[in-house]
Amino acid sequence: MNHPDGVNAGRVQRAPEHFLDRQGIQTVVAESKQGRRDFIRSAFAAAAAGAAVPVALAQGNPVPTEGGDPNILNLPEHATGLGQGVATDGYGKPSKYESNVQRRQSPGLTQTTQASVSFAPLQSLFGIVTPSGLHFERHHQGWWDIDPSKHRFMINGMVKSPKVFTMDEIMRLPSVSRFHFIECGANTAVEWGNVAVPTVQYTHGMISCSEFTGVPLITLLEIAGADLKNGKFVLAEGGDGSSMTRTIPMSLITSGEVLVAYGQNGEMLRPENGYPLRLVVPGVQGVSWVKYLRRVEVGDQPYAAKDEAVHYIDLMPDGQHRQYTNIQECKSVVTTPSGGQVLLDKGFYNITGLAWSGRGKVKRVDVSVDGGRNWRSARLETPVLSKALTRFNIDWVWDGKPAIIQSRAMDETGFVQPTYQQLRTARGTRSIYHNNAIQSWLVQENGEVKNVQLS
């Protein structure tokens, strides 16, 4: 059997689909359709009996045949021995049983790992905060772990005095901490024309949400005496090899929303996310959240940087490109059940997912289980914050028949997430960026969930 490192085979509680052979799966499916649980149990038991290594059966919660569940009757080592001491690991890590939960590359998407993407495992996350180690990655020229004592931040351009700040100085200034989502403008890009990838990790995994801590950029611009009236555009520039540049509107900066951030979820930014300093531009696509931020320049014209003149431009059917497309419009996705998962039995499920809007708070999320014919409003879990992920839940009893699950978000401006048909009518299928269409997951009779698009 194939195990993650360090996993004791005798104690792993593996998913039933791992030890059911093809005949076993067919039996389960056939019997589950008739609702005959006994057959399912015996199929699991038969499969387990045939396995080379004894496997504890927790999934399926079988009624005991020998007077009780051995997991209850036979006290395990952790109930009868002494556990490990404090600070065994100075920086704690997830359980070894969680090793499937990883950010991953989409095979064939890019030719290099330094100009590439890894996707966050949305199907395995709870709530609204993305664990920092699972935050999606997008690098243009590789990532670095920069010595923060040598990092400098410069402000120049239309300012009274160009300024230089050390990290020590930036961290002395009044700080704010705010939850915001960051979504790559190309999230869901491969799905513009048709279904291309199997799971929510690959369709929607270029989004993450963190509590960011930092200083409003406006504070630093005021220290430098920036011309806030004529300086309508601000260039943000990274300190790495790509020295990524993007144009930020001054109106967003003067609102106080744009942060020069060093903190992420209670600790410093991770190197992959721009340690020690990055820009946070709430509601705007991730490419503007310049990592390894070394400089901002105040100007009176936009900059047409490579990533706003060659990439991150949206091709329309008439052959024109929309330029300076920044806002991530209202969008949502059901994360469970979602593509690549399997429901093993009929009965109750909690449909859960994420909603967000670059224009403010999520106001409502509706969920359909019949492909958009009928909808019910989901419960929004607190907190519901502006330009942050919002978690939604809704009860569902699966009757074992095919179902098509969708979610549809509405934000506080009244904007409703579009269907694929509406989006394609407006923008065609070659836009690449800003695909915020309603996602459909087909639950088949065999319990397998597939990524589908509807006509």
Partner: protein, 360 residues
């Protein structure tokens, strides 16, 4: 490194000399004035109006030598390679240089989009080569080398002749020959400010219908069976416990499973199969051309029911053909119907069916 940018440095120096030492009243002791050397070292951006462009020049010929030495292994000798990065050169024509719009961008069948097809501003090329290229040793090129490489790329796209020498003096004229210089628009709602005078109105307007919103859900696209394991075993990409587990994609779906759920690779059974019998061939066309996404037989969804249309426009097949083709709004309410691109014969068949009473 950028010592040739004396004019810009002088300007910066002047600014600093006035304000150097100025301290923020609100946050004393935080931040110091940047020196002219520091600003010159980092302020490398070049704007579309060429603010920030250092003086210098470089020939196509010199650019070709540099290109073959430092760039061709990733981008191909002619900037055409698709091996590592997307191609830079290709897809533009002499006509595009005249019009400033790349005609191939209108073609849905044109394979790929090169950098020269997209980029509207020559400053972008100069700035990016200067700051980020070569990929493994960015910022190693001198200004004259950046001019030469830019000139070489432009010559490959027939924007400048083979004997051209690009410089800060003539780059504004070259801008007037960029193939897609008129190809950008800021008339959209995705800029979070009013600086571009775009629009505040989003380009989609879904409504939050709750009941009987569409007649049937029909699957139009899903992954083919051979792609089942293309992203690796999905069972290993899900938590071991939870309300759902990952499906073992190293195994094919069981035959019984496939037959019961989807009948092979065809679209699986919809949540509620359409019960309509196709008596008139036009009825099959309604589904084929997605009319049924917005219209139902006998009740209003997004658009009016077929029965209501038949009643209102009885006998007016030509009028209905025209309406289907061009779309419209106002006859049945404010929700617009987009123009339809179905074949003429199909549109006529549907219009005839409607005009004749839309019988089931």
């Amino acid at each position: 490194m950028f010592s040739s940018r004396k004019a810009w440095i002088a300007a910066a120096l002047c600014t600093v000399s006035v304000w150097a030492g100025a301290q923020s009243a609100a946050y004393p002791g935080i931040g110091r004035a940047a020196t002219t050397k520091e600003v010159a070292a980092w302020d490398i951006d070049v704007r579309p109006d060429f603010k920030g462009l250092p003086p210098g020049s470089g020939s196509v010929e010199k650019g070709q030598d540099l290109w073959e030495a430092k760039c061709a292994h990733c981008h191909g000798v002619f900037g055409e390679s698709n091996e590592v990065f997307s191609p830079i050169i290709g897809g533009t024509t002499a006509e595009d240089v005249k019009t400033g719009r790349v005609a191939n961008l209108r073609r849905t069948d044109f394979p790929g989009r090169t950098t020269l097809m997209k980029v509207a501003t020559v400053s972008t090329l100069w700035d990016y080569i200067n700051r980020a290229m070569p990929w493994t040793s960015p910022k190693s090129l001198k200004p004259d080398e950046v001019y030469a490489l830019t000139a070489y790329l432009l010559s490959l796209a027939y924007v400048v002749p083979d004997n051209f020498v690009l410089s800060d003096k003539n780059i504004a004229e070259v801008q007037q020959r960029m193939p897609n210089r008129n190809g950008m628009t800021t008339a959209h709602a995705l800029w979070p400010g009013k600086e571009f005078k775009g629009t505040a109105k989003p380009d989609t307007a879904n409504v939050a219908c709750m009941k009987d919103c569409i007649p049937e859900a029909k699957v139009a696209s899903m992954l083919p069976a051979h792609a089942r394991n293309a992203h690796g075993n999905l069972a290993e990409q899900n938590r071991l416990i939870g309300q759902q587990h990952g499906v073992d994609t190293t195994q094919p779906e069981g035959k019984a499973v496939v037959a019961s759920a989807s009948g092979g690779n065809a679209a699986p059974a919809p949540a509620k199969p359409a019960a309509t019998k196709a008596v008139d061939p036009a009825i099959a066309l309604l589904s084929k051309h997605n009319c049924t996404a917005c219209h139902a037989q006998d009740r209003k969804i997004v658009g009016p029911s077929f029965a209501d249309i038949a009643k209102k426009h009885a006998g007016k097949a030509d009028y209905l053909s025209g309406k289907i083709r061009s779309g419209g709004a106002g006859v049945w309410g404010n929700v617009p119907m987009p123009p339809q691109t179905a074949p003429d014969g199909d549109i006529k068949a549907i219009a005839n069916w409607l005009a004749a009473g839309a019988a089931k």
